[in-house]
């Protein structure tokens, strides 16, 4: 699933998309932004992020879930994701 080639992909397109995603991230609530930053963006598992943030693992996982949904909605609204 993760390696399925998407619509590809010159460098400038992906740089633009990265910028759009970064901007969408900055519009999330702080806990949502924080949990995505401390996991996927910093290449950490949820367990490691729970240690670093000092919050329970279950909270990190739930927060990732809601952050991801919130982010997807923002991206859809902006036409970045479908």
């Amino acid at each position: 699933m993760r390696a399925r080639p998407g619509p590809v992909a010159d460098g400038s397109e992906s740089a633009l998309r990265n910028a759009a995603v970064a901007e969408a991230l900055s519009s999330l609530s702080r806990p949502h932004r924080e949990v995505l930053t401390e996991t996927i963006l910093r290449n950490r598992s949820v367990n490691e992020a729970a240690d670093i943030l000092g919050i329970p693992l279950g909270t990190v996982k739930t927060r990732v879930y809601y952050a991801l949904r919130a982010l997807r909605i923002v991206l859809e609204e902006r036409g970045v994701a479908t």
Binding site: A9, S14, R44, S45, A49
Partner: protein, 235 residues
Amino acid sequence: MSVEHTDVGAYALGLLEDDDRRAFEEHLGDCGSCAAELAGLTDMRGMLAGVGPVEVGEPEHPEALSAGITDLVDRRRKEDRRRRRGTTVIGLAAGVALVAGGVTVGSAIMSSGGGSGHQHGSPAADVLANGLRHSATDPSSHAVATVATRSEPFGTEVGLDLANLRGPLTCRLVAVLRSGQQQPVTEWAVPPNGYGVPGSPGHLQVHGGIAAKPADISRFDVLVEGGGRLVTIPI
């Protein structure tokens, strides 16, 4: 350990450690709503892969910040010592996405693989070990490719090492010359389990040759049957 439906988010991003991931995969087999939700979330991993950490906000107290940094450095050291398994793919995807196209020249050949499945002694492994190497990671597909070339009387001998992809796919490697002309190198199928991913750590290594001289090659493209490009390796 307990599995919650909301774990689907962390699972979609590849953030669960091995035990939790396996438990969630078991749950996924029985839970239609999680399977449906997963389908809608997997794109997000690709979307986030090329994005660096964002500013979370001002800390309330400056001393909290420096304490946080010290703490972070300690944790980083610990992280370095205990390598976590099963999530290394994220490292490849998130870490290198913005610098796709970096060039490595003929050094420690197998360091990028680490896993089993390298075909030592094969023609592909031989070119990869002794040729001029170029690597790239595609920010969209996350495929990680290393191409090695070696000048031969007939033209150029080419070896390809490919990881972090799942099938089923049929792919081919083409050399794009500075003139714009394309020369096919070889083609192959990717089984569903893929190559260089958790559960299937071995990399794909293939081998071929083209008539053009190494100096005439501008890039290699890994193309997917049915359209699309998995990764481009600039030379």
